[in-house]
């Protein structure tokens, strides 16, 4: 039975002994984040901070550090448990997710008095962002942030609106700046429709909406559908929604916190600098659209999950990198197959998940990889991803050893590295390879200067070096012996090939 709320997800983590509850007073001012980053780096338990210094007495909100972060060897593990999907092997998890995404389930609206997120309702001046212990995450950040939040926004093509992840920098009790990067659907709608018409865009920023909703808020879905339907598909049951107090949007009834408001036209507030998903502090400070708060509803003693951005690069995992591996990968695989490409798996590179992806695919005709890369770069609004690496269709992109070997041995610098033009493509200003001058004022959330995109053909075009010795039975015997000697069975995953029996 799949979990249906953030609290059930915490129970799922606790059952797997993947949670630690810290009852000591912990400060929102760097301390909770430092502990979380250390847990992320060391692959340790996920911390729940029950007692946060300066906790507002009445609200008594609690923090949870990177709750969606999966184990470094199997980032998808907690999602697999939460959605009752296979944990091993990784490709089986991907196929399970793809199957669920094939069958969206429409949400159901429930009465307000049945919705946990309405346990406390504050509107107008009674609603204050400062009731909550938003963490100050890294030294040098521009402010305190809500980093694990799903923004619900109107969508004329979808009954249930558009659901996507945007961070918010808290400015005072009623205002926050939202990271809106043009090229993504909701920011596009704000910049090029609402703001041009001088209209505020009604939104609801939900915190703690649970794994299914937060996972689908990260993925690309067909126009005309709503992410919340796909969230229903993932959990195999309708997501229960409830109507907002101050606008026409519907939000997850089980959410920990719902911040209703409007994104104001022609108003900007500072956003950043911020220690971002690249693993670096990016600058300069940007001007971003303003969320004006109209109401806040929440559960009693709500949890405020947060992500320590920048800790999901290199060996570390965090919620962002886990979303990419556990949700973005299966969704991208499905999307490419639906577009007619013969793709086995599309997987984010674990060391920097939003910049480079690995795709295991056939090359059915000359130019097939160019066509595939071109399709993705142009249709997915690729402001974050700069590179694709293509590997043989049977190579497991979840295995970084297999990918490093493919790049090192099979990619010919003369013929297998392909750039799409020279600095013709848009780029998010969060990057660190452009100078502040090149990024400019980032008026709609893209750099003033363009960048290049590239793909690498690391397919073998022939024989590949041996990966193992002996037949399947002999290898299994060997693994059994080694397991008896203390080598954990999980250490043999992920396998070099998608079919682990090869």
């Amino acid at each position: 039975m799949a979990v249906t709320s953030f609290r059930e997800f915490l129970d799922c983590l606790a059952d797997a002994d993947a949670l630690t509850t810290i009852t000591d007073d912990v400060s929102w001012d760097l301390e909770a984040s430092a502990i979380t980053m250390l847990a992320n780096e060391t692959d340790d338990r996920i911390p729940v901070f029950e007692s946060v210094q300066s906790q507002c007495g009445e609200t008594a909100a609690r923090l949870v550090g990177d709750p969606y972060r999966g184990p470094q060897r199997r980032p998808w593990e907690w999602f697999a448990r939460a959605f009752d999907l296979p944990v091993d092997p990784g490709p089986a998890y991907y196929e399970g997710m793809i199957e669920r995404l094939h069958d969206p389930i429409e949400p159901a609206v429930i009465p307000n008095d049945e919705a946990p997120c309405k346990e406390v309702v504050r509107t107008g001046t009674a609603a204050s962002l400062l009731e909550f212990p938003w963490p100050y995450i890294h030294q040098g950040d521009g402010g305190r942030y809500a980093t694990l939040s799903t923004l619900v926004a109107p969508d004329p093509d979808s009954e249930w609106g558009s659901w996507s992840r945007h961070r918010a920098m808290i400015h005072d009790d009623s205002q926050a700046s939202l990271l809106f990067l043009a090229g993504e659907q909701v920011p596009n709608r704000y910049y090029f429709e609402y703001e041009r018409n001088d209209e505020p865009m009604p939104v609801a920023l939900t915190i703690g909406a649970g794994p299914a909703i937060e996972a689908t808020a990260e993925v690309w879905i067909p126009v005309g559908r709503s992410e919340v339907s796909f969230a229903g598909g993932l959990r195999e049951s309708p997501v229960e929604l409830v109507e907002c107090e101050t606008n026409d949007l519907a939000v997850p009834a089980s959410a920990e916190i719902v911040i209703e408001g409007r994104v104001m036209p022609d108003e900007r507030l500072d956003e950043g600098p911020f220690g971002d998903y690249f693993g670096y502090m990016n600058g300069p400070r940007r001007s971003m659209p303003v969320l004006e708060v109209d109401a806040i509803t929440h559960r009693k003693q709500p949890y405020v999950p947060f992500c320590v951005e920048g800790s999901g690069v290199g060996y570390g995992e965090n919620s962002t990198s886990t979303f990419a591996a556990a949700a973005g990968g299966p969704d991208a695989t499905l999307g490419l197959r639906a577009a007619g490409f013969d793709v086995e798996m599309a997987v984010p590179w674990p060391f920097t998940s939003r910049t480079v992806w690995i795709i295991a695919t056939e090359k059915p005709y000359p130019g097939a990889l160019h066509e595939l890369a071109n399709f993705i770069f142009t249709t997915w609004g690729m402001l974050h991803i700069d590179f694709f690496v293509f590997v043989d269709s049977d190579v497991n992109p979840l295995n970084p050893r297999a990918v490093v070997e493919a790049i090192a041995l099979h990619a010919d610098p003369d013929t297998d590295f392909h750039q799409f033009g020279v600095e013709r493509m848009p780029k998010v200003p969060l990057n660190i390879y452009q100078t502040p001058d090149e990024k400019g004022s980032a008026a709609v959330g893209t750099s003033k200067t363009k960048t290049a995109k590239a793909y690498i053909d690391a397919c073998a075009d022939g024989t590949r070096p041996a990966q193992s010795i002996g037949d399947r039975d002999a290898r299994e015997q060997a693994r059994n012996l080694l397991s008896q000697a203390g080598v954990p069975e999980s250490a043999f995953e992920p396998s070099h090939t998608i079919d682990s029996s090869q």
């Binding site: 000591d24 760097l30 301390e31 502990i35 980053m37 250390l38 780096e41 340790d44 338990r45 911390p47 470094q72 995450i137 890294h138 030294q139 220690g275 693993g279 670096y280 502090m281 600058g283 920048g310 290199g314 060391f351 920097t352 700069d386 590179f387 970084p400 050893r401 490093v404 070997e405 790049i407 090192a408 041995l409 990619a411 010919d412 610098p413 003369d414 590295f417 750039q419 600095e423 660190i432 390879y433 960048t451 995109k453 073998a460 022939g462 024989t463 070096p465 990966q467 193992s468 010795i469 002996g470 290898r475 015997q477 060997a478 080694l482 000697a485 203390g486 080598v487 250490a491 043999f492």
Partner: protein, 463 residues
């Protein structure tokens, strides 16, 4: 000097060597290969039937594609006596030092630990890969004595009958051998002897007697009919060269055979010496992370590191790594960029002194060799996709190890993931990390409460 069995004992005590009873099936090579796949410990396979013990994964064992507390150089560094937790560069410097010439010979002779036995070579029970007929002998040293001194080379042998070994050795050493000459094979030698032999082989320095190299005064030796061999060797085989068969090639090659030409000798073993409870290292061939690959990787890195820091009058390179996961098809170098354009010079210098890779990745001098994960991120986020991925023309020699099919010439690539030295300081984005994102007092307080918070992990590497 650390004897091989002492080296193993260190690994056992630190939980990095496990023991199994040697099964009839699967073959030791299968077990070793699966242990490597799992980034597992060294694996000792013991018997009580008179065969020698075998151990795999002694010199490398792991990659760096997930966070580990041990590194590809840890086990070798322990064997070289560098440290229990050896720094990468210390291991490289130790290897290079063992290969340096000495002004004066200072050889130490110590009684041979192995004693004579009436067992044949086949009785010793070297491992046979599945699908093959003949047992393999790997990770040993072949020795030949001359009037000038002793020469050591790596060997890859197959035991073709009771006392006959067909041995692959580097071709450059063959002028030291004559038909009918005697040689010795030493197995289970100190790590210094094995690492130095690999280093001298890939640097084409086999023409100098071992006594004139630092390793000759570091490793105590004993004379045999084939020159001096390490006294503490677990197994010593004395043999006569029965035939030179330069046209014969083994199907599987030890990794050094990918870098230089080899030749084949047929050896008739006349004497077998073993220590009590002898244990010898072995490696499967051709699969990822094998010991022969790791040894060549470290030896080549030691050579290149030494060369690049001996060229410009200063030592700009912090470290240089040839990840075994890439089977030496890619080279990572951490360097100070002395001036604009230095990155081009350095990359092409490396292409000049090594022909095995076609790609060089440059990272800042602050990067740690222990954190390859950061490198594997920085390649993509610090290097501008249009400006910092730099390709040569297609008229360069084709690199030796990549497997793409090309004849004649090809291109080379370097990826500059360093900060541009022309950038203003304000343009340099600080890293997000524990050290840079949180004050020391806070980190210290967290360290003090870590276990109390309910966490299990060790923090030595991170705080």
């Amino acid at each position: 000097m650390t004897a091989f069995r002492t080296h193993l004992e260190f690994l056992r005590k630190t939980g990095d060597c496990c023991s199994l009873e040697r099964p009839d099936s699967p073959s030791p090579q299968v077990i070793a290969s699966e242990a490597l796949r799992a980034d597992g410990p060294a694996v000792r396979l013991g018997t009580a039937d008179g065969r020698i013990d075998l151990v795999s994964g002694v010199y490398g064992g792991v990659d760096q594609l997930r966070r580990q507390t041990r590194y590809p150089w840890t086990r070798l560094g322990i064997g070289l006596g560098v440290d229990r937790d050896p720094a990468y560069v210390d291991v490289l410097e130790k290897i290079a030092t063992l290969g340096k010439r000495v002004d004066e010979r200072d050889v130490t002779y110590v009684e041979r630990a192995a004693t004579t036995t009436d067992r044949t070579v086949r009785d010793l029970g070297f491992p046979t890969p599945p699908g093959e007929t003949w047992p393999h002998v790997t990770l040993g040293v072949l020795s030949v004595g001359t009037d000038e001194g002793t020469y050591w080379t790596p060997l890859h042998g197959t035991v073709i009958d009771s006392n006959t070994i067909r041995a692959r050795i580097p071709e450059t050493i063959t002028d030291r051998f004559e038909r009918g000459a005697t040689v010795s094979i030493a197995l289970g030698v100190p790590a210094e002897a094995l690492a130095a032999t690999q280093f001298l082989t890939i640097t084409d320095r086999l023409s100098t007697p071992i006594e004139d190299r630092r390793v000759g005064s570091t490793v105590p030796v004993i004379p045999t009919t084939g020159g001096v061999v390490p006294s503490s060797s677990e197994v010593v085989l004395e043999a006569e060269i029965a035939d030179k068969q330069p046209d014969t090639r083994s199907e599987k090659r030890a990794f050094w055979e990918h870098l230089l030409e080899g030749t084949t000798l047929t050896l008739e073993v006349s004497s077998v010496f073993t220590r009590d409870d002898a244990v010898v290292p072995f490696t499967p061939l051709g699969v990822p992370l094998t010991d022969d690959l790791q040894l060549v990787s470290l030896a080549l890195a030691a050579r290149l590191y030494d060369r690049v820091n001996s060229y410009w009058g200063v030592s700009p390179v912090e470290w240089l790594l040839l990840p075994a996961a890439g089977r030496l098809g890619i080279c990572v170098v951490s360097t100070e960029v002395l001036y604009a354009g230095f990155e081009w010079q350095l990359s092409n210098f490396l292409f000049s002194f090594a022909d095995c890779f076609d790609t060089v990745v440059l990272v800042d001098e602050h990067a740690s060799p222990r954190d390859l994960g950061q490198v594997l991120g920085d390649i993509w986020v610090k290097a501008h996709p249009a400006r910092d991925w730099l390709f040569s023309g297609s008229d360069a020699p084709v690199a030796r190890l990549p497997t793409y099919s090309r004849e004649g010439t090809g291109a080379r690539l370097y990826i500059d993931a360093t900060w541009d030295p022309r950038w203003d300081e304000a343009y340099i984005a600080p890293r997000v990390s524990l050290a840079e994102s949180y004050p020391p007092t806070l980190r210290a307080a967290i360290r003090g409460s870590w276990a109390e918070f309910g966490f299990d992990s060790e923090l030595d590497e991170l705080l």
